[in-house]
Symmetry: C2
Subunit: 501 residues, 2 copies
Amino acid sequence: MRLGCRSAPVKQNRQDPVQEVGMFRNKMPRYEILSEDAMSKLDAGWRRIVTEIGVEFDSERALTLFREAGQKVEGQNVFFDPEWILEQVALAPREFDVQARNPEHSIHIGGDAMAFGAVYGPPFVREGDVRRDATMNDFERFAKLAQVFPVLDSAGGVICEPNDTPLDSRHLDMTYALQTLTDKVYMGNVVSGVNARDTIRMGEILFGGREAIEQTPVSISLINCNSPLHWDDRMLESLFEYTLAGQPCVVTPFILMGAMSPVTIPAALVQQIAEALTGIALTQLIRPGAPVIFGSFLSNIDMQSGSPTFGTPESGIGLLCTGQIARHFGLPFRSGGGLTSSQVADAQAGYEALMTMLPTFLAGANWVMHSAGWLEGGLVAGFEKFIVDVEILQMMQAEFTPLEIDEDSLAFGAHLEVGHGGHFLGAMHTMERFRTCFYRPLLSSSENYERWMRNGSLDTNARASKTYQAKLEEYVAPPLDDAVRLELEEYVVRRRAELGD
Amino acid sequence: MRLGCRSAPVKQNRQDPVQEVGMFRNKMPRYEILSEDAMSKLDAGWRRIVTEIGVEFDSERALTLFREAGQKVEGQNVFFDPEWILEQVALAPREFDVQARNPEHSIHIGGDAMAFGAVYGPPFVREGDVRRDATMNDFERFAKLAQVFPVLDSAGGVICEPNDTPLDSRHLDMTYALQTLTDKVYMGNVVSGVNARDTIRMGEILFGGREAIEQTPVSISLINCNSPLHWDDRMLESLFEYTLAGQPCVVTPFILMGAMSPVTIPAALVQQIAEALTGIALTQLIRPGAPVIFGSFLSNIDMQSGSPTFGTPESGIGLLCTGQIARHFGLPFRSGGGLTSSQVADAQAGYEALMTMLPTFLAGANWVMHSAGWLEGGLVAGFEKFIVDVEILQMMQAEFTPLEIDEDSLAFGAHLEVGHGGHFLGAMHTMERFRTCFYRPLLSSSENYERWMRNGSLDTNARASKTYQAKLEEYVAPPLDDAVRLELEEYVVRRRAELGD
């Protein structure tokens, strides 16, 4: 019998309550690049790490749980029995739901479901030629953009740092904005256990109490490992709070190869497995059956400058492997996004974002953070880049939709109608389908040169600038019950005072 | 016994003479998206087209060959027995070599080999903000860039139209430039049978006579279908000339869905099979065993404007299917490239180029035209875009290199050295590998913001401009025997006079 602060198992809602009006299901094959032999070598690798090197947990609560579960604890370091880890991991659900306050925006995590959230964490924003500290106004405008585009399932969490709000109560402002400006799934704050408890409490207010959010979770929270092989105190505090409340965490090794892991991809992969699985094992000690997501944030540094780099070949390979590994362990996984090192929404930003996003779809990532707006290695949330990424995301969803091959789509009759060397523009088969047959771009231009010149010879960045401004105009606040809004506001005001801001 | 202008079978050189110093072999798995059921529906589809609708050949020579081979000819239209087509197709080699005058640049076509050529066909060029008619000077500079970058196996053929040279003898100037400024494989001219014969003759001069080029071909030529279902006279004239000389043609349905085919992808695929296989069957009537490549140029139009669009989800799906189809028929195939509709080398150019290039690698295309420099739907050859594409190509080759998972790459010792929460920058394992462990960008920037600002805050297009200019400075003319050069020059002068220019 394991003890500790573990509460009752989460009741998994086996009946999918999600209406999934907008949610994407990836029915295309996964691109799997690891042979059975390769997988077994990686498997031996993480076992060796957890057995011989161990993983540090900067948390007495965690260490107590591990000790009680029979794992060998020396100081903060825990040496694991790999078989025990796998037993714990097997307690986690393979798939689960997360509810949004608009049921049409609720999502499913796992299987062939893919959900997409906006960029998370940047202290700066870029609009056109201006790069500056992010503000609450920026945060709100990004939240509105995430609400406007159906291709995004979530505005994410810290879309950008609202530097003009008080630090200690900022989590209240962000959570309130996410809950009120959008009716989609949102991410929890993880700066401290206090912040986590506030986020959970605000979820209870919005969704009708503790039982409702434990029944089907309402937030997803990002718990990063202090890689290599160290879980720090504040992250673990948040992990405890969310897991106890049945709210899923994304247990994420944060690896820039060459800095937080060895420079070789296999080494990074086994380290990632060791870190993720030990974190996930902890969640199942805290609350058996708690929903949890195998996280991956895996790229590399530039070995000349030490700068982080994104959209690299190495990160692409890592992503493809990670998907296969997560499936191997039967866990939903987080990876991918529209990552780039580029300072502006230029060609590099375009190809690096797709260098990450296309493998994201090939790997079938279930929860995709940083899907829109990421610039400059994650330091900047870019308004123009947000639109570039939405375009890429829409294209990917169109591309990863299986072909229907039938008498109708084979269109034999159209050939009879058109004949040799003719054209199909006016054919009946075309006329019946021309509105929906191809993906219609949001941003990309195929204007001929003369028309493009007449329209101001705007490059993609300049067009994206017009697009995000127009889309903000289209924003309509999703309805919210006045009493609920008032209760949320009162909570924010009270807690802000209590936190001394 | 089949008659016609067929010559003796090409002796396939079974021993690979290629040194492949720079050639890329794609050892990663193919991404196959068509189920067996889907493939059999497509198979039934092309059979129905060639049987019931037929394919037109605007060439008496071709019609005679088909008639003599027992196919039903009505006017210019040929109704085929699909089984007979497959017998013909089976005569074509699955793989073959193409020699370059520098043996280190010779290439292999088929299997896991992938060869890359520059953009082909644009009448215009773009340098920075200037878009203008292409000239011979542009052609030569692009040829030099293709020579400089090892990632390119060929400068292609009509890299851009040298509009300042006489039309009737332009093919001589281009072939001479390709043969002398580069020592890589080049493409043949296909404007007419006359041009094809000149190209072949110049190949004989460069490579030591007819027997030498028949033994191992020295050029690859692009033969487009006038889709739907019509092969025109001039293209077929060139097809005859090259095939008789044992020079491979890329038999390519030219399909923009919605214009040259129905709007549905399955219909485009079966049309593509019907067109390609009938053209390939013809090559095997002309010369059994002649090397030939299954070609694909498959994208769609914008149904609102009628403009061609590239890097679309539909073209990506088409490309993935095409690879699978070509393998189904046991043929090497051409597809892919760095296609885009964008007017400049901006974000759209970046993501659209990769939207085509990543599926090109997933599909394992064997001969990849338009790998560098394509802009504005192929109307423009862009100097900056050339550099963007080379960067993408280099990244792809790095990404599609299988992982080595062994004791060394698992780097257990590095963990022992670094410990929990440390960093690997100075670890022995890192120091031994830091120069080569990650892909080093040609163009992409991961500079921090302050350094990027100090360096002029150049976007990718501006950096690419500096790069191509610097690379042109690095160009060194590959050595060429004076007597051969003189013979080529005399041929060009004589033929120009004969052609009346």
